[in-house]
């Protein structure tokens, strides 16, 4: 469960990115965060990742106020989250297999589990045949599949995706969405920030719409509202 309670974020330079934001996302939900460029979606994502702290308010994740996490606890907190970005962020000098295995090495999984789990996630995302390829040898869609594999390999309770389809053509984007949907069906909470109205409209999931840092709409089975596209 993720809960924003009166969350505001003002950046050091005075930019008000979020103002008094409230929402609750239950376990197993699939939620889109939409809004025009600069509306505050990425800011919300960074807050959940505990990359930044809110200026005000509480952020409760799985029962803990993560704004009160000690610095030492942050890495352990993040192991509950799978993260996917627009720009893939794979380690360039590791193969697909190594990139995924790396996420397990960091949490010191057993060698045996790594050897079992990595091929299984890779085939789940349809990348089994590319296990030994390096990121630069992959298409954008394949790279994003690899990041998805890395994001879920440790079975996180929450998957956070910031514009995961931003660099992909529509067909590839829909493939990735099917994958994310499948991950959601396995019980993982999914939070996805996006501009892609077709995707949002097609998926019929809960949509939280931001405008200039304020939540202006929060709908079950919503669509990409007009408020999101106008500035």
């Amino acid at each position: 469960m993720i809960q924003f309670k009166n969350v505001s974020k003002v950046y050091e330079n005075g930019t008000k990115a979020l103002s008094n934001v409230n929402f609750t996302i239950n376990s197993g939900e699939f939620v889109f965060l939409v809004g025009a460029s600069g509306a505050g979606k990425t800011t919300a994502v960074k807050l959940i990742l505990r990359e930044i702290l809110p200026t005000q308010g509480e952020i409760i994740v799985n029962g803990r106020d993560i704004t009160k996490l000690k610095k030492k606890e942050i890495p352990y907190y993040r192991r509950n989250l799978g993260v996917v970005f627009q720009d893939f962020r794979l380690l360039p000098d590791k193969t697909v297999y190594e990139n995924v295995a790396f996420a397990m090495e960091i949490v010191e999984a057993r060698e045996r589990d790594i050897r079992r789990q990595v091929p299984s996630v890779l085939s789940m995302v349809g990348l089994a045949s590319k296990a030994e390829s390096y990121p630069h040898q992959l298409s954008g869609g394949e790279q994003q599949r690899a990041t998805l594999a890395r994001a879920i390999v440790n079975n996180p309770s929450i998957l956070i995706a910031d514009e995961p389809t931003g660099n992909l053509d529509p067909d590839t984007a829909m493939d990735i969405m099917r994958l994310i949907n499948m991950i959601n069906h396995r019980g993982t909470t999914v939070i996805m920030a996006t501009h892609a109205s077709e995707i949002v409209d097609a998926m019929k999931k809960r949509v939280i719409t931001f405008k200039k840092g304020i939540v202006v709409r929060d709908e079950e089975k919503g669509g990409y509202a007009n408020e999101a596209s106008n500035i």
């Binding site: 890495p75 352990y76 993040r78 993260v83 962020r89 380690l91 360039p92 960091i106 010191e108």
Partner: protein
Amino acid sequence: MKLRTYKNFFKEALRNIFRNRVMSLASIVAIMSALFILGVVLILAFNLEHIAGGLESKVEISVFLDKDIGSNQARAVVEQIEKNDGIYEIEFISKEEGLAQWKKELGEKGDLLEGYEGNNNPLPDKLILRIEKPEYVDGIISILNDIPEVDKVNYSQEVVDSISRIVQTTRLVGLLLMLMLIIIAMIIINNTIKINVYSRRREIRIMKYIGATDSYIRWPYIIEGFTLGIFAAFFAGALVIGGYNLLLSRAGQMAGNYAFFNLFQLLPTEKMIYDISLTFLLVGCGVGIIASIISTRKHLKA
């Protein structure tokens, strides 16, 4: 952390070293230079101490007793002196023995001393004290001066003093030089790691996203510093010990030609190789590790 994790760290560290060959080499050369100076200082100090030790064992104080005391009284004085620390040998030369020695030294002209035997003997009883270390000399001399039967005390201090001064100065200058070079080495390693961290800042960010702890991120860099230190210690050791062996063989050749070189016996390599290797390894790895810890602390923040 698990053993396998450390194995991965080592792989990572070696990969880093190889990827930034030029900076790695610069770091190794920097530590090596510092170690080289340290080695030269050590060898100089060892040898000077060896020479000084030879001289020190010859530190002698000559004590002349009053001419008019008897042999019982003289023996009492010897016993009194013996009780003091720092004296490892007392040689008693009675006036008779002294005269006999003198005669011997004069050889053919020994008969010049005819008639000075017995009560006419002009020589005092003499003691030669052999002292363990020059530090004891001053104390012993003041004790000797307080003994009424002691007439005169002779001691030549200069040689010993100047040698121990040379040893001290060499050590000081060498240590300062070495400290300077260690600081330079640290700066270069710091730069190596900084470049490394900078070129991998994307990777480090990704590692943080997927939940790597700071120490997990730092370990490879610390191992990198340690490895650079080992390499430097190894090369510096080979250089210093090889160089010294060469010097020894040259000195050996010269000793054949010039008597001067026989004056001071250089220490054989075996006497120092253990100390030098150990010091190099400790200092080399220490410098590497400390520099890595400092620079990762600085550059991994974010």
